[in-house]
C-alpha cells in the first residue's frame, strides 16, 4: 500500500492503516503482554484523574495556596456530579438524551452528505484529468480556508436549526473524503488497470472492479477522521448559534463559568466519538476483507 505522497495534511488526510504488521495473539506471552498493557492503561487513567482530583482538593484544603483551582479547571468528582445531574434531571435545554440525539443527528446527516459527495467528486475528478486541471486551483483555494469560518454564513443562510450544523459538518467531511478518494483513484496500480483493460473491462467495469475497490481502502481510512470532523462541525455550529445540542450545553456551561459542565459535555462527546469510531472500524473490516492484515487492533 502506498503512503500518500503529496498529502494535504491540512485537510486531515490520512494514509490507510499500515498493512505490514500483523498482531497475532497466539504467540507465547501474548496474554501476559495484553494484561500488562491494559493494566498500565488503567493505571494511567487513575493517575491522571486521581492527580487532578487530589490537586483540586489540595487547593481547597490549603486555602488556595497551591493545587488546581476547581473553579477554573473543574474536578473529576464535580464532572461526575454534573453528569449525574444531567442524566437524572436533564439539562437547561431539555433532557440529556435529546441533546445527544440532536448533535448525533446533525453529525450523521452531515457525515453522510459529505461522504457521498466527497466520494463522487473524488472519483469523477480522479478519473477525469481535464476536469481536475480546470477545478484544481479552486479546490485548493477552498481547502486552504479554515472551514469553521463558514459557520456564521451557514447560520445566516440556514437559520438556527439543524440545517446550518448539517451543512458545516458536511463541508468539513467533504474535503477530507474528497481528497482521499481523489488520491485513491490516482494511486490505482497502473498494472491492474492495464490488466483489466486487456481482460476486456469496459470503462464502467474498470470503475466498478478496479478503481473503486482500490480507492476504497483510502476512503475508509478517511472515514475514521471524518466522523470526528462531522462532530466538530455539529458542535461548533451549535456553539455559535443553536437552540439544542451538546455544543450548546458546552456554550451555556462556559458562559456560566461551569468548568465541570464543559468537561462533562466533552466526556459525552468523547464517548459518542468512540462508539462511532468502533462502527467505522467494523464497517471497514467488513468491506475490505481481502486485505492482508485487517485493521482490528492497529487503529488506535
Amino acid at each position: 500500500m502506498n503512503v500518500p505522497s503529496n498529502v494535504d495534511r491540512a485537510a486531515g488526510m490520512t494514509s490507510p492503516p499500515d498493512l505490514g504488521e500483523g498482531v497475532t495473539l497466539r504467540e507465547p506471552g501474548a496474554l501476559r503482554r495484553r494484561l500488562l498493557v491494559n493494566g498500565l492503561r488503567l493505571l494511567l487513567l487513575v493517575v491522571i484523574i486521581g492527580g487532578w482530583e487530589l490537586g483540586a482538593r489540595l487547593f481547597v484544603a490549603t486555602k488556595e495556596a497551591f493545587g488546581i483551582d476547581p473553579f477554573f479547571w473543574g474536578q473529576p468528582s464535580g464532572v461526575w456530579a454534573q453528569l449525574v445531574t444531567w442524566v437524572r434531571d436533564g439539562t437547561s435545554q431539555g433532557p440529556l438524551w435529546e441533546q445527544i440525539a440532536v448533535t448525533l443527528e446533525e453529525a450523521i446527516i452531515g457525515f453522510a452528505i459529505g461522504v457521498v459527495l466527497g466520494v463522487v467528486f473524488g472519483i469523477v475528478l480522479g478519473r477525469n484529468h481535464f476536469l481536475a486541471d480546470v477545478l484544481g486551483p479552486y479546490i485548493k483555494a477552498a481547502n486552504s480556508i479554515p472551514r469553521v469560518m463558514l459557520a456564521p454564513l451557514f447560520l445566516i443562510g440556514f437559520g438556527l436549526g439543524i440545517q446550518s450544523k448539517v451543512a458545516l459538518a458536511g463541508v468539513l467531511v467533504f474535503f477530507i473524503v474528497f481528497f482521499n478518494a481523489f488520491q485513491g483513484v490516482r494511486e490505482v496500480d497502473r498494472n491492474l488497470l492495464a490488466n483489466a483493460r486487456i481482460l476486456g473491462a469496459s470503462n464502467r467495469q474498470l470503475s466498478m472492479h478496479v478503481i473503486i475497490p482500490s480507492a476504497l481502502s483510502w476512503i475508509l481510512a478517511s472515514l475514521h477522521v471524518s466522523f470526528a470532523f462531522a462532530l466538530v462541525g455539529a458542535v461548533v455550529g451549535e456553539f455559535i448559534g443553536g437552540i439544542q445540542g451538546v455544543g450548546l450545553m458546552v456554550q451555556v456551561a462556559g458562559a456560566n463559568f461551569n468548568a465541570n459542565g464543559v468537561f462533562a459535555a466533552i466526556v459525552i462527546l468523547a464517548v459518542v466519538a468512540l462508539v462511532a469510531e468502533a462502527g467505522v472500524t467494523w464497517l471497514e473490516n467488513r468491506l475490505v476483507r481481502w486485505r492482508p492484515n485487517q485493521a482490528t487492533d492497529a487503529t488506535l
Binding site: D189, N191, L192, A194, N195, A196, R197, I198, L199, G200, A201, S202, Q205, H209, V210, P213, S214, L216, V288, R289, W290, R291, P292
Partner: protein
C-alpha cells in the same frame, strides 16, 4: 517441434554485427528473406519506433526501427539488457501504447486498440487483490459478456488446469508467489488468447518454481496454439522455452539478431540446459547479447 520460418527483415544499411561461429545457428540472413505480407504472421512489427517524453520534457527513444514477426503458434522469446524497450514492445503489440512511427499488425490487422484476442501476463502481480482466486479468474469472461454460469464453469476448469483446485476462495495475499502467477496465467488463458504476451512473468520467482512454471506454461501453450512473445532477461529461460530467441540492442532497442532454437519438444525446462545443443546455442546467443549488456552497464555507471 518443427522450426517455424522466421521473417526477419532488416532495413538496408543496418550493420549486422553477429559473430558467425556455427552456420547452423546463424541468424537469418536478411538478404535471403523476402518480405512476407504481415497478414501471414501472428504478430508483425514493422520499422516501429517509439519515443516517450520524459518528465523533463526531453524525448526518449525506447525503440528504434524495430522489425519483428512471430508466426501463428510460434513461441518467441525476446532478450535484451535492462531498459532496452522489451516491455515497450509488448505494450505496442497489446495496443496499450501506439508506436510513434511504423506499424504493428496482429493477425494481419493493424493494431488500433486493445485486441480481444490478446492475453498479457504482467511482470508484477496484476491479479486483483480484492478478488479471490475464483473471481480473479472469472473476471475476463464476465467482462466480455459470457453468461455467468458458463463463465464460472470455465473458471473452475482453468483453476483446476493450473493446479489451484481447492484454493478458489483464497485472496491473492494468502497465496505464494508461484500460486499468484498461476492465478495470473489462468486469468489470462481463460480468454483463450490467440496472442499471448508475457513480460518477465516468472522473474520474481525462485529458480525451482520458475522451472516448474516454465514447464506448465509450455504444456498449456502446446494445447492452445497461441503465438507467444515472452520477454525475459534470462537467456537460459529464453532458450529453454522458445522456438526462436530475439536479441534486442541496448536502448534505443532494435533487433540485433534472431536465433531459431531447434531443440526437440516436449522439453523439460530444468533438464534441457544440460543438452550439448543447448549449451551451443547459449554460447552463440550470449556472444551477441554480451556486448549489449556491457553497453547498458557502462551507461548505467555513467549516470
Amino acid at each position: 517441434m518443427t522450426q517455424h520460418p522466421t521473417r526477419q527483415e532488416r532495413p538496408k544499411g543496418t550493420p549486422v554485427n553477429i559473430i558467425m561461429s556455427d552456420p547452423a545457428i546463424n541468424p537469418q540472413d536478411s538478404k535471403s528473406q523476402s518480405a512476407v505480407a504481415p497478414s501471414a504472421a501472428g504478430i508483425a512489427l514493422e520499422h516501429v519506433t517509439k519515443r516517450f517524453r520524459t518528465p523533463k520534457g526531453q524525448l526518449y527513444t525506447a525503440l528504434h526501427d524495430l522489425t519483428l514477426s512471430v508466426a501463428p503458434g510460434e513461441f518467441c522469446a525476446v532478450v535484451g539488457p535492462t531498459g532496452c524497450g522489451k516491455s515497450t514492445t509488448l505494450s505496442l503489440i497489446s495496443g496499450l501504447e501506439r508506436p510513434s512511427s511504423g506499424e504493428v499488425y496482429v493477425m494481419g490487422n493493424p493494431v488500433t486498440g486493445i485486441d480481444p484476442r490478446i492475453g498479457y501476463v504482467f511482470q508484477t502481480d496484476a491479479v486483483f487483490p480484492w478478488k479471490n482466486v475464483l473471481k480473479n479468474v472469472v473476471a475476463g469472461p464476465l467482462f466480455r459478456g459470457v453468461p455467468r454460469d458458463q463463465a464460472y464453469e470455465r473458471a473452475h476448469d482453468w483453476i483446476a488446469r493450473v493446479g489451484l483446485a481447492g484454493f478458489e476462495d483464497r485472496y491473492p495475499h494468502q497465496l505464494s508467489g508461484g500460486m499468484r502467477k498461476r492465478v495470473a496465467l489462468a486469468q489470462t488463458l481463460i480468454n483463450e488468447p490467440r496472442i499471448l504476451l508475457m513480460d518477465e512473468p516468472f522473474s520474481a520467482l525462485d529458480v525451482q518454481t520458475r522451472n516448474l512454471m516454465g514447464d506448465e506454461l509450455l504444456q498449456l501453450w502446446s494445447a492452445s496454439a497461441a503465438s507467444v512473445v515472452f520477454v525475459t532477461h534470462d537467456l537460459e529461460e529464453a532458450i529453454a522455452l522458445a522456438d526462436k530467441v530475439c536479441v534486442i540492442t541496448a536502448g534505443p532497442g532494435t533487433v540485433k539478431g534472431i536465433y531459431p532454437v531447434d531443440l526437440p519438444r516436449p522439453r523439460n525446462v530444468a533438464e534441457i540446459r544440460f543438452e550439448p545443443r543447448f549449451v551451443e546455442l547459449y554460447q552463440t546467443i550470449w556472444e551477441d547479447l554480451r556486448s549489449e549488456v556491457m553497453i547498458s552497464y557502462e551507461r548505467a555507471k555513467q549516470r
